[in-house]
């Protein structure tokens, strides 16, 4: 394990920010830390990195206990904070050089790493620009370059795509995959489901400072009862028919969402065929019909009773 967190508790006076939080990260993986804003993701990262004191628990990074003086461990860590954290009075290149210089003392090696980082985030033609001249997306790329220029073994990316345009977001996500392919282990926090689904091999779902579940996407989705949702729009349908619909095999629930009905099925085969047969038998006319497999949002909804984006 490259990171091991056991029963971590962090309190801010009466507020419990982390409540016996657990996490294990294997070398070479991209681990997604998923949860709504304020659930404790950043607090967890700050505790792991010894930026915050904690009340209880154990943290091991790279096989050793992490403390503020663990400089040998810190040498192998990179952090991309949630806020763009760069010097406004330094150019793109100077910023990367400064943060890389906090790890790499050899001037030639540092120059090489800085050049590589600039290329990696695609900021070559902006290297002499000051951050205030960059767009939001380019600033985010600079923020990433400052955190990874020294080629760390373990990288913490804290919501690196917040308020970023689609083009920059794709660029950033592709870059993260590339970093992982080059051997870095990545801990990625976000509240964007699509990013987690696209990037992460394993996911930890957090809420109220707790790690609710962890596993692969498939494992998480298998944990919930709803295995399929079919969304249908009917021209005319009576309440009695809706109630009858609940008798179709494997149907758990039928919900109305605006003009459509969401029919939830538990694990079973031929759900769509069974529904179509029901429609035919009851002479119903439908305007729209499609099937959906459960998402991580459904997992979160079933585990916590609320939407991830609430």
């Amino acid at each position: 394990m490259i990171v091991k967190v056991n029963n971590l508790v962090k309190r801010y006076k009466e507020l419990i920010a982390l409540d016996h939080f657990n996490m294990e990260v294997e070398e070479g993986e991209i681990l997604g830390l998923l949860g709504p804003n304020g659930c404790g993701k950043t607090t967890a990262i700050n505790c792991i990195l010894s930026l915050l004191n904690f009340d209880k628990g154990e943290i091991e990074v790279l096989g050793k206990k992490m403390t503020p003086d663990s400089y040998d461990i810190k040498k192998q860590i990179g952090l991309v904070p949630q806020e763009v954290s760069v010097f406004e009075k330094l150019t793109v290149k100077e910023n990367i050089d400064y943060f890389c210089g906090l790890y790499i003392e050899d001037k030639n090696l540092r120059e090489q790493y800085v050049e590589e980082a600039i290329e990696f985030v695609g900021l070559k033609k902006y290297e002499k620009f000051y951050p205030k001249k960059l767009s939001g997306g380019l600033k985010r790329r600079l923020n990433i370059a400052c955190g990874i220029a020294h080629k760390p073994r373990l990288i913490f990316l804290d919501e690196p795509t917040v308020a970023v345009d689609a083009q920059s977001r794709n660029f950033i996500l592709d870059g993260i995959k590339k970093l992982n392919k080059e051997g870095s282990t990545i801990i990625y926090t976000t509240h964007y489901l699509e990013e987690i689904e696209m990037l992460c091999k394993r996911i930890i779902i957090m809420d109220n400072g707790k790690s609710l579940v962890s596993g692969t996407k498939e494992e998480l989705k298998a944990m919930i009862t709803t295995s399929e949702k079919i969304i249908v729009g009917f021209l005319n349908i009576e309440d009695e028919t809706i109630n009858k619909m609940k008798n179709i095999p494997h149907v758990i629930d039928v919900e109305k969402d605006d003009e459509y009905y969401i029919i939830k099925f538990e694990n079973g085969i031929n759900n769509l065929a069974n529904l179509l047969e029901f429609i035919k038998e009851n002479n119903l006319t439908y305007t729209k019909l499609h099937s959906q497999l459960p998402s991580l949002n459904d997992v979160f909804l079933e585990l916590t009773g609320k939407e991830l984006r609430d």
Partner: protein, 375 residues
């Protein structure tokens, strides 16, 4: 030395603050020094326009009037305070003299006998006061058996003395040069304080930014090494700023350096700079807000300069103002510039006070730093 190197880079990019203060200061110093460094070698008494109101009309008062008439032009006036003040304000009269009814009695009793209206800011005021004092001193000297010897007084007053200014052994005998250096270095206290707090303070707000600070904390750069480089950066920037002002005085009045106690000014400004650097350290540990830092730069530099005698001489300031000024190093800095120093011992108290302030600022800064780290 990455931190040091980038500290200097960021400081130099705040050159707007440094340059604006420095250029304005140097221009003012050039203007201030363009005419008043010539040595005064003679003294010419000029005829002034004065008004006299004699309420006594005694032999003595008439004698005084005659004496003043010989030396000055007499203009019309009237016993109306508003009118008199207007004559002075408009420059119609250099002085208005009111001789009281009981003039003779007051002279015998050596009481303040004459009321003089004049403009204190004009050097002419001194001349008329001198003439009256001279007359009264001579009159008192001849007073015997209830009478004055007015003839003797007239003879004595008519005697002329040739005055020649002789160079003394004192190094600081060229008043114009001494005053220029005094004003120049007094005003450096204002610019040094303003620039240090603004320029170094603004750089430090970047380095102590919470998010940038987090990146530093998780790096493999040791905390002690990081701080060492930051302090070295501050010391370098501060040293460069102070050096600019020392060099400024050499460039502007280099040929007169031998005529003043230049070492006094240099030692004093170096000690003062160190003290203000420590004050900047304290401020940086109290706040990270750029607006507050800018405000402190303006308020502290202007406020302490005014209270400590940079803008107005310490002698003119009220007792309470000076009492408050003693809580700031600028007061002791100005005191040294104003005094004649023959050896280091003459200014040891003022130097020690400035160093004491430096230590207090440093300790307070370290305390707030600790408190912040715990939070």
């Amino acid at each position: 030395m990455t931190v040091f190197k980038h500290f200097i880079k960021i400081a130099l990019r705040n050159k707007g603050v440094i340059l604006s203060y420095t250029i304005i200061f140097l221009i003012l110093s050039i203007l201030n020094g363009s005419g008043n460094v010539q040595r005064e070698s003679n003294f010419i008494e000029t005829r002034l326009d004065i008004g006299i109101i004699d309420n006594s009309n005694s032999e003595l008062s008439n004698s005084l009037k005659d004496y003043l008439k010989e030396k000055n032009n007499i203009i019309d006036t009237k016993l109306d305070e508003e009118y008199i003040k207007e004559q002075i304000f408009l420059g119609i009269a250099d002085a208005i003299i009111i001789i009281p009814e009981d003039f003779d009695e007051k002279v015998i009793n050596k009481e303040n006998s004459i009321q003089i209206y004049n403009d204190d800011r004009k050097t002419e005021s001194l001349q008329i006061e001198n003439q009256i004092n001279k007359f009264l001193t001579f009159i008192n000297a001849t007073y015997e058996n209830g009478e004055y010897d007015l003839k003797d007084v007239k003879l004595a007053l008519d005697k002329k003395t040739e005055v020649e200014l002789v160079e003394s052994d004192n190094k600081e005998n060229n008043r114009g040069v001494v005053d220029w250096f005094k004003y120049y270095y007094n005003f450096t206290s204002y610019v040094i304080m303003a620039i240090y707090i603004a320029a170094i303070g603004l750089v430090m707000t970047d380095f102590t930014d919470e998010n940038i600070g987090s990146r530093m904390k998780i790096s493999s750069k040791k905390f002690l090494q990081f701080n060492k480089e930051i302090y070295l950066g501050q010391l370098t920037v501060a040293g460069m700023i102070t050096l600019i002002f020392i060099l400024g005085s050499i460039v502007l009045k280099g040929k007169y350096i031998g005529e003043v106690n230049f070492e006094k000014y240099v030692i004093n400004v170096v000690v003062f700079s160190f003290s203000i650097l420590c004050l900047t350290f304290l401020i940086n540990n109290i706040t990270r807000n750029k607006f507050i830092i800018n405000a402190m730069s303006t308020v502290l530099s202007l406020g302490t300069s005014f209270m400590s005698g940079v803008m107005v001489p310490q002698e003119v300031l009220g007792e309470n103002v000076l009492k408050i000024a003693k809580f700031f190093p600028t007061y002791y800095f100005v005191k040294i510039n104003e005094m004649t120093v023959n050896s280091f011992l003459d200014m040891k108290y003022e130097i020690s006070m400035q160093l004491l302030f430096a230590i207090v600022f440093l300790l307070m800064g370290l305390y707030f730093n600790k408190v912040k780290q715990k939070a």
